[in-house]
């Protein structure tokens, strides 16, 4: 190991202690996962009809996806697990939007400012990183994701449509981005969000940032001044999160106490179409606690 490598590793390891609290991170992640699940169900409910048409149209592009994927990964000796890019199962907007190498061509050179503008347009339209990976495969482009985002953004600014609509998560994050940008642009910090969450009785500071940003965009003032909260006062939030986690734990305990097992949770997940087995245990436990019966016996 040369001197640079040694010094860098020393610097990295010496600051591992800054890692956030695992319990707090997990509690907020669980709250957020529930929200995403709700959104996904809502999106699935609302988009079921057009999804069918989209899947039919999607078969036209499927060989391109498959070929690109198999070409890229054939012969790879890497041990790292590579998440498959998420080809979003949303409808193709127009037939002309279908990927074809001739129609796509290579990205036009953009200046730095144009590239920033294009990338902003890309995110503003609700597309995200996974969408860029999907576009790269669809367009048979090997450029880095930023270049793909810039090219896609350039097309959007030119009034063109992309081969698929933004993923649900992207749409949600684009809508939230405006709120979050407004929140931080006003000088508010994470600590302020914790304070606001406390005032508004919200368990998730992230949600407080979004709500606060929305209020600011609507011209309202917030009950706290920017930067008015001391650093790292996360105790109250942890309490709220702990309360939520504790309720979940109670439901999970009720699930197991009734004689159900992990395998039962997997089966229930299939019946209820929920991927997350932990959430299944919570839902099932809550039903049992409410005196209801489950579709399968322990």
């Amino acid at each position: 190991m040369n001197q640079d490598a040694y010094q860098l590793r020393e610097a990295f390891v010496a600051h591992e202690y800054l890692a956030p609290d695992a319990a707090e991170v997990l509690a907020v992640a669980r709250v957020r996962a529930r929200r995403y699940r709700r959104r996904r169900r809502a999106a699935q409910g609302a988009g079921g009809a057009v999804l069918g048409a989209g899947l039919v149209a999607g078969t036209v592009a499927a060989p391109g996806w498959l070929n690109a994927t198999s070409n890229r990964h054939s012969g790879s000796s890497l041990s790292l697990a590579a998440p498959a890019p998420q080809p979003t199962p949303t409808p193709l907007t127009t037939p002309s939007a279908l990927a074809s190498p001739a129609a796509v061509a290579s990205p036009s050179p953009l200046t730095s400012a144009q590239q920033d503008q294009a990338i902003s347009a890309y995110f503003a339209a609700g597309y995200d990183y996974n969408d860029a990976l999907a576009l790269a495969q669809l367009w048979h482009m090997s450029a880095d994701p930023s270049t793909i985002k810039a090219e896609a953004g350039r097309r959007l600014l030119a009034g063109q449509t992309l081969p698929f609509k933004p993923s649900a998560a992207g749409v949600a994050s684009a809508a939230e981005d405006a709120d979050l940008n407004a929140y931080f642009a006003a000088g508010y910090t994470y600590e302020d969000a914790v304070g606001l969450a406390q005032l508004w009785n919200i368990s998730d500071p992230y949600q407080a940032k979004i709500d606060a940003g929305g209020k600011l965009l609507a011209g309202a003032t917030l009950p706290l001044k920017p930067g008015s909260q001391p650093t790292a006062p996360t105790v109250a939030t942890s309490d709220s999160d702990s309360a939520a986690a504790s309720a979940d734990d109670g439901a999970v305990a009720a699930f197991f106490k009734s004689g159900y097992t992990y395998d039962d949770a997997v089966t229930l997940g299939k019946i209820w179409k929920i991927d997350d087995t932990y959430q299944v245990k919570i839902d099932a436990g809550q039903k049992l606690m409410a005196g209801q019966t489950l579709p399968i016996k322990p």
Binding site: A19, P20, F123
Partner: protein, 172 residues
């Protein structure tokens, strides 16, 4: 492996990785929260991967590289704070080991790097991945990885020299 088993064994390491990657405690927290929320929703798919841990770490890198929410604002503020803090530390705790000061100094300079350059250094020197593996992770060519690493090291040295020059100027 269930999501709960994964988090009970891997989360502390994942958080250390995230804070080293981002250089910012709050950003690391935001990034990992976001990644875990998404991972929990599609855990069955992740569990089918050869290595769920590598999959989630990849999600963390991608999330960090595509994170746009106020990152620049927060980062500039954080670097300023860190540099001030280092200055204070130097003034008040001169008996600290030089290696600790050097590590803090280098940490502050790392915070000035573009995200991709920093990610390459973290993956190469903290995660100890080779350039081909990093290229696969970042979805770019190995030559791009080498270029980013080279630029990052050059930037770090330049910053160090500039700081030394400023310090010498102040002394004279």
């Amino acid at each position: 492996v269930t999501f709960e088993q994964f988090t009970s064994t891997r989360l502390p390491g994942l958080l250390r990785y995230a804070v080293v990657l981002t250089g910012d405690r709050e950003l690391a927290q935001d990034v990992v929260q976001e990644v875990l929320a998404r991972a929990q929703v599609k855990w069955r798919q992740i569990d089918r991967a050869d290595s769920p841990d590598a999959y989630v770490r990849r999600m963390v890198v991608n999330e960090y590289l595509s994170w746009r929410r106020s990152w620049a604002v927060r980062n500039v503020r954080a670097v300023g704070e860190r540099l001030d803090a280092i200055g204070d530390a130097r003034a008040s705790q001169r008996d600290h080991a030089q290696s600790v000061v050097d590590a803090d100094d280098l940490w502050a300079r790392l915070a000035t790097l573009p995200r991709k350059q920093r990610a390459v250094l973290v993956l190469r020197y903290y995660e100890q991945l080779d350039d081909v593996a990093i290229a696969d992770l970042l979805d770019c060519a190995p030559a791009t990885v080498r270029s980013n690493a080279s630029k990052a090291l050059k930037n770090l040295r330049l910053t160090s020299e500039q700081q030394t020059r400023v310090h010498e100027k102040e002394l004279t």
